[in-house]
């Protein structure tokens, strides 16, 4: 229990380091870095403690769901409160975020401090605020709090991307990131308001006091409405005139708007490649492992709500599958190392969405974990290369760095093998499970879901080939062959504050797949699917009964019974499993081999011209950026201008009109006072006559 009482410190420690860096950073020797490292290290230790408690090794209770602060105490209405929800999913995410943040802080010593960057207090303050916000988002126990921290991480992303604001690129990229994600967040906000209005609560899990439910959660209320038809408490349904499931689908899709923006799915993916203008550690932390994970994490947190709506699930799966393929095709022609990694991130988050949509909850969380590790590793490795190459990112100027930067090379290779999905590295196990879940649920589900999942599966499968291809194209161009420029021949040395985090993550990328090697578990019958057990929880009682989350509820009750998602095994369970695994492995290896044949030699050349017209399309990112700019300038701006004219002309015009009538009238009426006494006398007389006539008529004098 003690771990849970200290849990708010997990969020507050990085916030304190933000304040320290902001106000005292210029007096500190490393510009606030040490405060950040201490704070994230402390949060990491506390997160480990929380995880041990949730696992049941210490303390008495394995979950925690309480309010810690009330901002608005509503009377007979919604109260707005901050609270913490600590269960296996949030504990896992806490570990990931604090670990990656800690390693990124150490890496920043090498990337920023040693390179002599200025403005470091601002940088470390931004990192601290970001870490605090992300951790706050992870532990949020209600939707409004989650939305607040969601927006805060967006703000920190803006501040950090625009770190080098004196150049042209970064501030523009920061604005683009903020605006595109904000566009999605607008729908999210409407969804939050809709959920609060419909259910009267934004809680993700019920709050219990001694076994009785004190405050019910909205997924539970939604489930009761759909499964049991208990819709009396939900007045909105009468106002809207939709059925419960249809309305909940609408709400889910609205919240999905924010998820799509934050996790850079199509069509709101355009900000992520531009966000690479920020410093590489920022890209590693925010745009690879944590902030973009926020969207996927939110869906996983609210899974009980999404699982009752097959339409929402199908949309998630299709968006994910499409994005996976779409981004992968763009990644194959990029020339800068960080750009390849950015498109790769978009593509991999597509896989996670595919998993969530097709009912593979464990697969999605697994891929989230492994991706955080190997993508952060790849970005930090790219950062190391960038330091060595004096901030030149173009892969065509690199080459031959393998001999010159061995630590970076081997860790980068470990991350690349994980990304491509080559056994036994982490990415293989997680990506394979994602595709497997999509396949079996596609084959087994009823209604329109089955075909939707199969289409998404096909797109994801094709993206595996491309992933392998572009990843190893990147590796061969950067590290293999002969150096293609002077700086590649003689790169700058990187210190241990760079190599240390790389080594840690390199080892993790190779081994973290062990947490859930499902194929091996199925084949040998050994219980080594630890992650599955972790998210499943105890069969009786414990946190699944307390919180209503957990695999039993999601898979068996909701997905199977309500949404109609079930599994079909054409070759039997083991057979299908092996076939799917071999298929994805074969495609990945094929991609690697093609990359090797094209780029593996001593003097690789550009092959992108062979794509012909497709090359232009891909280099221009399918003209998505132009399209979005057109939406803003060609469509929104004229509408906004028309609205402005209306506002100024009609609304202001009425007000101005009232005043001008008054002014005109008074300027005419004052001319009565002409100063000529005879006129006054005339008016007096006329008044007298009128009065007499009126009195006369009413008094009957005539």
């Amino acid at each position: 229990m003690a771990a849970f009482t200290y849990a708010p410190a997990i969020v507050l420690l990085p916030f304190v380091s933000f304040l320290v860096a902001l106000f005292a950073g210029d007096r500190m020797p490393k510009g606030g870095a040490l405060a950040g490292i201490a704070a994230t290290g402390g949060s990491l230790l506390l997160s480990i403690w929380v995880t041990l408690t949730v696992a049941g090794f210490t303390g008495s209770s394995t979950s925690y769901n309480e309010f810690v602060y009330t901002w608005v105490a509503g009377v007979d209405s919604i109260a707005l409160r901050f609270g913490l929800l600590l269960d296996p999913l949030s504990a896992l995410m806490l570990l990931i975020v604090t670990l990656i943040s800690f390693l990124v802080h150490i890496f920043s010593l090498g990337y920023m401090n040693d390179e002599g960057e200025t403005g470091l207090p601002r940088y470390y303050a931004g990192l601290g605020l970001f870490t605090a916000s992300m951790l706050g988002f992870v532990v949020a126990n209600n939707l409004l709090m989650a939305f607040t921290f969601f927006e805060l991480v967006g703000l920190c992303s803006y501040l950090l991307i625009g770190f080098w604001f004196r150049e042209d690129g970064p501030p523009s990229a920061a604005k683009k990131a903020f605006l595109v994600t904000r566009f999605g967040d607008y729908f999210f906000l409407i969804g939050v308001v809709g959920i609060l209005a419909t259910f009267g609560t934004g809680l993700f899990a019920p709050i219990r006091e001694g076994g009785d439910v004190v405050a019910q959660s909205f997924p539970a209320l939604a489930e009761q409405a759909v499964v049991n038809g208990a819709t009396e408490g939900i007045a909105m349904l009468d106002t809207i005139g939709m059925g419960a499931q249809a309305w909940f689908t609408v709400l889910g899709v609205l919240v999905l708007g924010g998820v799509i923006g934050k996790s850079a799915q199509f069509p709101l993916h355009t900000w992520l490649p531009d966000a690479m203008e920020g410093p590489t550690p920022v890209s590693a932390l925010i745009h690879a492992a944590t902030m973009v994970a926020a969207g996927v994490y939110l869906v996983a947190r609210m899974y009980g709500f999404y699982a009752i709506s097959p339409t929402a699930l199908a949309i998630i799966a299709l968006v994910g599958g499409f994005t996976a393929l779409f981004a992968a095709t763009m990644g194959v022609v990029k020339q800068e190392i960080k750009q390849v990694l950015a498109y790769s991130t978009i593509s991999q988050y597509g896989y996670m969405m595919l998993a969530l949509g097709s009912g593979g909850y464990v697969a999605a969380v697994f891929h989230l974990t492994t991706h955080a590790v190997f993508k952060a590793l790849l970005f930090l490795g790219a950062g190391s290369v960038i330091i060595a190459m004096h901030h030149n990112e173009n892969m065509w100027d690199m080459g031959g760095l393998k001999e010159r930067m061995p630590v970076t090379y081997w860790t980068f290779l470990s991350g690349s093998l994980a990304l491509a999905g080559i056994v036994p590295f982490a990415g293989f196990w997680s990506k394979d499970e994602v595709l497997y879940e999509a396949l079996i649920h596609g084959l087994g589900s009823s209604g329109g879901l089955g075909p939707a999942y199969l289409v998404a599966y096909a797109m994801g499968l094709l993206a595996v080939f491309m992933t392998g291809f572009y990843t190893f194209r990147m590796v061969y161009l950067t590290f293999h062959g002969e150096p293609r420029s002077d700086i590649a021949r003689d790169p700058v040395e990187v210190g241990w504050n760079v190599k240390g985090p790389l080594s840690v993550l390199g080892v993790l990328a190779a081994t973290v797949g062990l947490i859930n090697m499902k194929p091996v578990a199925e084949l040998t019958g050994a219980h080594i699917d630890f992650l599955h057990a972790w998210l499943h929880g105890p069969d009786e009682g414990g946190w699944p009964a307390q919180l209503g989350t957990g695999l039993v509820r999601y898979e068996e009750t909701l997905l199977h019974d309500v949404a109609g998602v079930s599994a079909g095994y054409p070759l039997g369970e083991i057979g299908t499993l092996l076939a799917s695994a071999l298929l994805s492995l074969a495609l990945a290896v094929a991609g690697v081999l093609v990359a090797r044949s094209l780029y593996g030699g001593a003097e690789p050349v550009e092959h992108t011209d062979k794509l012909g017209n497709a090359k232009t399309l891909l280099m221009h990112n399918y003209y998505q950026d132009e399209y979005q700019v057109w939406l803003a300038t060609g469509f929104t701006y004229p509408v906004a201008r028309a609205m402005d004219k209306f506002d100024q002309g009609v609304v202001d015009g009425v007000v101005n009109g009232v005043s001008s009538v008054s002014l005109f009238g008074s300027s005419r009426i004052r001319k009565i006072q002409s100063g000529v006494v005879s006129n006054y006398a005339t008016l007096l007389t006329l008044g007298l006559v009128l009065l007499l006539v009126v009195f006369g008529i009413s008094g009957g004098w005539f």
Binding site: K671, Q673, G675, V677, S678, T685
Partner: protein, 101 residues
């Protein structure tokens, strides 16, 4: 066979309105003052008429006092016209229009 009161009142009204006409249309301040005098005298006629009507002398006494007051008012009025002339060099009432918008 006393004349009925209406005719005295009619006479008084006629004199009053002639005086009023002068006030409204004449431009010379002295003629303006004379018109005001006419109006006062119309009131006096009215008083006397009602004194006859009621058989009470109060009305006639009032008329005497009214004449006295009219005299006082003319004295002050002429003084005012004098000052007006000094400030505007003209006794035309339509010229003294500085107190306007």
């Amino acid at each position: 066979m006393a004349i009925p009161a209406e005719y005295y009142l009619l006479l008084s009204a006629a004199v009053f309105c002639i005086g009023l006409f002068g006030v409204l249309t004449r431009r010379n301040a002295l003629i303006f003052l004379m018109s005001v005098e006419l109006m006062l005298n119309a009131a006096n006629i009215n008083f006397v008429a009602f004194s006859l009507q009621h058989g009470n002398l109060t009305g006639q006494v009032f008329a005497l006092f009214g004449m006295a007051i009219a005299a006082a008012e003319v004295a002050v009025g002429i003084g005012i016209i004098l000052v007006l002339y000094r400030n505007f060099t003209d006794v035309d009432v339509t010229k003294a229009t500085t107190m306007r918008w």
